[in-house]
């Protein structure tokens, strides 16, 4: 089990996820207080990755519920396998079973389609699982209310079976891209953390950890370039995922230093919208690259914590 905040930081770093003290404390408290973690942030900053790495750190299963508009309890909780039930009745009739005995077993476990939330509650094998509820801002408000009920008690009532209670409370992570504001009731139930774009040093560490073999000089230039890009007005600002994609692409191409031609050819790794690519004109690209090449990075030290 996780004993301390430092251990969390260490174990996450082992899996190439660089945390900071605040995030590690939040995760530690969530595991200790048995409360869900609510991660908010721009797309591509590492919210879903945190959940995945956490599952590896806790050495447990990750049960993922991907939210979308129109998600309802049938897709999230459970559904009866109507077809199998009907076939079972037909088969029993064909076999000539007594009239009273037909259909007795159709509301049993084998006809129940367990969706992620029920899977999380009914997880019996091994340590308590991790439940990731991804992009909850894409679901409807009614679903939030429904989720709140589940998260409060970790028990559900299936009319035909009864009440099912969780044997172990799972570790729950909720993520949101902030496309809409979530209800207070749900946020209050959780520990909140806003994941921002990383600082330059942090991003360098992330790139070094996730793109093995990359030269420090190129990594620094890439990070500085991304930092400058994020200051500009784009429809979709590039996140850490884009930085890593780009770094891997440059490594694969054997690039050692940023050149305007290389950057414009690989711009698709960073900017995924044509209008954004057009907005970054050739002149501005040259200027930005010139700044990154003049950039002299300091030595890579441990994570400098915010001076409080």
């Amino acid at each position: 089990m996780l004993d301390s905040i430092e251990e969390i930081e260490r174990r996450f770093a082992d899996h190439a996820y660089i945390t900071d003290r605040t995030l590690a404390t939040t995760v530690f408290l969530a595991a200790s207080l048995k409360k869900p973690v609510f991660l908010e942030g721009e797309p591509g900053v590492g919210k879903t990755s945190l959940a995945k790495v956490m599952a590896r750190v806790l050495e447990t299963d990750l049960i993922r519920l991907q939210c979308y508009e129109g998600l309802d309890s049938h897709s999230a909780l459970y559904e009866w396998n109507y077809l199998r039930q009907m076939l079972e009745i037909r088969v029993q009739e064909a076999r000539g079973l007594d009239k009273e005995k037909i259909g007795r077993n159709i509301f049993s476990d084998e006809f129940l389609l367990k969706r992620p939330l029920l899977q999380a509650i009914q997880h019996h094998s091994g340590p308590s699982p991790e439940l990731l509820i991804d992009e909850i801002d894409r679901s409807y408000e009614e679903f939030e209310a429904f989720l709140l009920e589940i998260l409060s008690d970790f028990q559900i009532t299936i009319p035909e079976i009864g009440t099912l209670r969780a044997t172990h409370i799972p570790f729950v992570v909720l993520t949101s891209n902030r496309t809409r504001e979530l209800h207070d009731a749900l946020k209050r139930r959780c520990l909140y953390h806003w994941i921002d774009y990383p600082t330059l040093e942090k991003e360098r560490m992330i790139v070094s950890a996730n793109v093995p073999g990359i030269q420090d000089r190129l990594a620094s230039q890439v990070c500085r370039f991304m930092e400058l890009m994020r200051e500009k007005e784009f429809y979709k600002r590039p996140g850490v995922a884009e930085t890593l994609d780009w770094a891997q692409a440059l490594l694969a191409l054997g690039i050692e230093e940023l050149e305007p031609e290389i950057v414009s050819r690989t711009l698709g790794c960073i900017l995924k919208y044509k209008s954004d690519q057009e907005k970054l004109g050739a002149e501005e690209l040259q200027k930005t690259i010139a700044i990154t090449r003049n950039f002299k990075p300091g030595p890579l030290v441990g994570d400098r914590q915010a001076a409080l």
Binding site: R21, L23, T25, F28, L29, A30, K35, Y140, E181, K187
Partner: protein, 328 residues
């Protein structure tokens, strides 16, 4: 294993409560049960570690990213510089000086160091009251923008306004009906229809029918005033309408100045500027005088029959300056 912890000492608890009040005074939306959760978290962290304490407070007490700057500021002022509000004359100072002496013996050492700091601050206060009223730091961006005159907005505010419009438009556009209708996607099986449809097969469900929630879209008619007095706002209004069209296809738009022109087809361009050009080209009387009554009358006569239905919403965007006949 968890070590059973003593309840937080009274001085620390009262500081926490005062901290939460300071946050509220500063306009930060504080989680009501946050203080309790923070106390619970003391079982697991070392509150002498400033960063840990900050992280725990941040995770339990706030739940919106807009509150982060305000929270940081109040946290810094409250716990680090040691300046805090003196709510009533005299009493808090004496409280602070007396209570550390009565502190229970089994308090954690970390708490004692906090108490000592506040006891010292209290002693310093003996001379007079230091009144410190934190100003509201965080404000609702939306609320400010709503009140601001569009014509006087800067470029960045216009950008923010555009985002607000996008959000509003999404909310306006759809409402999900609770009624269920026949659907082809695999949502819910419609058993009634399944049985009926499969009677030729002796009840065996060979053909399945589904139901899904019906999504009803509001029908909207927008009539925009583009006369001279509304010149500054016209561009923004067209952008608003274009955003609306992306989410709500069934919207009819008309512009009027001295007369009415329906411009629904002209706004089919994905690019806002191109749309604006087409509308300007197509409308003859842009920026001229206003005749609201006449234009609306024309709408009623010519177009209403085809466009306006039972659940249609007609919205008139105008500033009301009219040169025409008021009785029309």
């Amino acid at each position: 294993m968890l070590r059973p912890s003593p309840p937080p000492s009274r001085p620390l608890l009262s500081h926490l409560i005062r901290f939460s009040r300071a946050l509220r005074d500063a306009g930060v939306k504080v989680n009501p049960a946050g203080t309790v959760e923070l106390c619970r978290s003391f079982n697991f962290i070392d509150i002498g570690d400033r960063l840990c304490f900050y992280a725990a407070a941040r995770a339990t007490m706030i739940s919106r990213c807009e509150d982060l700057p305000g929270f940081d500021r109040v946290f810094h002022e409250f716990w680090i510089s040691g300046v805090e509000a003196a709510p009533a004359a005299g009493r808090p100072d004496t409280e602070q000086r007396d209570e550390p002496r009565n502190a229970p013996a089994d308090t954690e050492s970390a708490t004692r160091s906090e108490e000592k700091r506040y006891a010292d601050a209290g002693d310093d206060d003996a001379g007079g009251e230091r009144v410190h009223a934190p100003e509201p730091v965080s404000y609702s961006d939306h609320a400010l923008l709503v009140q601001k005159d569009i014509g006087r907005m800067s470029a960045s505010e216009l950008e923010q306004a555009r985002e607000v419009v996008h959000e509003l438009v999404k909310v306006l556009a759809n409402y999900r009906s609770r009624r269920l209708t026949a659907g082809r996607r695999r949502d819910l099986i419609d058993f009634r229809r399944v049985f009926r449809r499969n009677t030729p097969y002796g009840g065996l469900p060979l053909r399945l029918c589904f139901r899904k929630h019906r999504e009803k879209k509001t029908r909207l008619v927008l009539l925009c005033d583009v006369s001279g007095s509304m010149e500054r706002y016209s561009r923004f209004l067209i952008q608003f309408i274009c955003a609306l069209r992306q989410v709500l296809p069934q919207v009819d738009i008309g512009v009027f100045s001295t007369r009415l022109t329906m411009v629904t087809d002209l706004l089919d361009e994905p690019n806002v500027d191109a749309s604006l050009q087409r509308v300007l080209a197509g409308v003859g009387d842009w920026g001229s005088g206003t005749d609201i009554g006449g234009s609306l009358g024309e709408f009623n006569r010519q177009f209403a029959r085809h466009i306006v239905r039972n659940r249609t919403l007609v919205v008139i965007l105008s500033d009301g300056w009219d040169r025409g006949d008021a009785d029309v």
